[in-house]
């Protein structure tokens, strides 16, 4: 008989055996599927939670540097030119002193602070095109617009000295500017520098906050450094690094622990199932099956069942993760877990099979 036909006969017998022992086969499939799904579900959830936590810490607020200057500190908008030469800055903006404005239509209505604003990246605030006469146009945040009584962002405001400004649009206020709310700004170009009360710099990465702060401080060019305060969320940035490291190692050890626990469980149950079949192995050996044949039968049978289990487990876990809105771990990871689960199942079955196959067939056949 050719090797191929011999192999086909072994596969046929292994599948027939699996079919003839439905309870043991179902237990094997369920155990391996459970192992696979448990690992994938816990891992998938961990990855999702990790991303959520880091996302919440990783806002621009974590990376912001805020400089407040007194009116007579001597900080003006030319600082932005100097900041342009510093690496590691994602965004920078300067805001003038607040002056109250009210809706031109209702004199005596709510007063809202308005500031001159300088930035080369005003699009970050939702301002895409600057008007020709810049210092006569203002943008206001929805909060400020509500205060002014012009929710449609149409109208004009007037300041205490009687100068009026046209409301041109609605601002998108990023989190790191929320402390300036209600925010009304009159965007300025670098041709119209003026006194800066608040300078905000966003670093590219959390770990750049400290060096960028130092660099920013050195280019402020203020007449009296005592009248300037610089605040950062450096501690938060450091915390983020710590949390990331902790979550990473937590995720990894969770996978290892879950895998180890389920593997021990699966191994114990498969071991038991194979031990129950010692009499069967004894009969086969007594009738002329070689040790190698017994082992290949068991390998094929358990391998096929474990593969079915791993496939079912992976699919179930993927459906579960998708249903709960968790991110899927990559397919290579799913494949690796499925393969590892199958291997664990096969090894768990192989150890008792080897022991059984090596003994005298009759001692196995006559086990109580």
């Amino acid at each position: 008989m050719s090797a191929l036909r011999r192999w086909a006969a072994v596969v046929r017998e292994a599948l027939a055996t699996a079919w003839a022992q439905p309870v043991a086969s179902v237990v094997t499939i369920v155990m391996v599927a459970g192992m696979c799904a448990t690992v994938l579900l816990t891992t998938g959830r961990t990855v999702g939670a990790e991303q959520a936590v880091l996302g919440s810490i990783d806002s621009e607020g974590t990376r912001s540097i805020i400089i407040r200057a007194d009116t007579d500190a001597g900080l003006d908008a030319t600082v932005l030119d100097r900041l342009a030469h510093i690496d590691g800055i994602q965004w920078a903006g300067a805001f003038g002193i607040a002056q109250d404005v009210t809706n031109l239509q209702f004199a005596g209505a709510t007063k809202v602070p308005m500031r001159l604003a300088w930035s080369s990246q005003l699009n970050h605030l939702g301002i895409t095109t600057l008007p020709p006469v810049s210092n006569a146009s203002i943008w206001a945040s929805p909060t400020a617009l509500a205060g002014l009584g012009m929710p449609d962002a149409v109208g004009a405001v007037v300041d205490d000295s009687g100068v009026d400004f046209a409301v041109t649009g609605s601002l998108t206020v990023p989190d790191f500017l929320a402390f300036l709310e209600p925010l009304v700004i009159a965007p300025q170009t670098e041709n119209t520098p003026g006194t800066v009360a608040v300078l905000i710099v966003i670093a590219d990465r959390p770990d750049l906050v400290a060096p960028v702060s130092d660099a920013v401080r050195s280019v402020l060019a203020v007449t009296d450094p005592a009248k300037v305060t610089l605040t950062t969320s450096e501690n938060l940035a450091a915390l983020r690094g710590l949390v990331e490291g902790q979550l990473d190692s937590f995720g990894r050890s969770l996978v290892v622990v879950v895998f180890a626990l389920t593997a021990v469980l699966v191994a114990a149950i498969l071991y038991g199932l194979v031990m129950l079949r010692r009499k069967d192995f004894g009969r086969r050996r007594a009738l002329g099956a070689s040790q190698a044949l017994i082992i290949s039968l068991l390998l094929t049978q358990t391998g096929a069942l474990a593969l079915v289990g791993a496939t079912i487990g992976s699919i179930a876990a993927s459906i579960g993760l998708t249903a709960s809105g968790d991110p899927l771990p990559g397919w290579d990871f799913v494949g690796a877990v499925a393969l590892l689960s199958t291997t664990i199942g096969v090894i768990a079955a192989l150890v008792p099979a080897l022991a059984a196959a090596r003994r005298d067939p009759l001692k196995e056949l006559r086990v109580p």
Partner: protein, 215 residues
């Protein structure tokens, strides 16, 4: 043909625990074409002797010779091959696989010999007809009587036309008519050149054997 020594026990010693040997320096020759009855009281070691002669238990001393060469101390794979190709064995308790059909049980050894299934299935049906166990397809050993199981085990043992047929109480559960079928089949196998050894308490079977060894 009767002069050919097919199977020989040479000074066999065996004990499940070495301190209490069940067989001590036991020797016998079994000729091709001969049916030998082994008798003796219960618990004396008749089944054990068959397992040693059947290469399923290794004697602590002595040889089991097949056609003049020792087989008892060969590699495990070689002994398995001899069991599959040269031997037919009927266990005292039939030892059928309860999870598989009767037909699957009878053709089980084709896998161990590496021979094709189709002719084996054809031969299995002939044997089942011959021994009156042509049950419905798909019947399992749990659904047959003790006597039927014994005859199914004999079908399995005869499937590969063995040169050595060892049968442990093959008529133990059978009525006289079925017993006669078994005795006829055993003699037919001997006429085909096999050495046949039956362990039995059945005086009718002993009477029809060529020789009797008391253990």
């Amino acid at each position: 043909m009767v002069d050919t020594i097919r199977l020989a026990a040479r000074d066999i010693t065996f004990g499940y625990v070495p301190t209490a040997p069940i067989l001590s320096d036991w020797s016998a020759d079994f000729h091709a074409g001969e049916v030998v009855a082994i008798t003796g009281p219960s618990g004396r070691g008749k089944s054990t002797l068959l397992y040693v002669l059947g290469l399923m238990l290794k004697p602590t001393a002595g040889q089991v010779q097949i056609d003049g060469t020792d087989a008892a101390h060969r590699r495990d794979a070689d002994r398995a091959g001899l069991r599959a190709h040269q031997y037919g064995f009927v266990f005292q308790d039939a030892a059928l696989d309860a999870t598989r059909t009767v037909l699957d049980n009878i053709i089980e050894t084709t896998l161990y010999r590496g021979t094709p299934r189709k002719p084996a299935i054809r031969r299995a049906h002939e044997l089942m007809d011959q021994f009156g166990v042509a049950l419905r397809a798909g019947a399992k050993p749990g659904q047959v009587s003790g006597g039927q199981a014994q005859r199914i085990a004999l079908c399995r043992a005869l499937l590969n036309d063995p040169q050595i047929l060892l049968a442990d109480e093959p008529t133990g559960n059978l009525d006289p008519a079925s017993s006669d079928l078994v005795v006829d089949a055993v003699h037919a196998q001997a006429h085909r050149g096999a050495a046949v050894i039956v362990v039995t308490h059945d005086p009718a079977l002993v009477a029809r054997c060529d020789r009797r060894l008391e253990l």
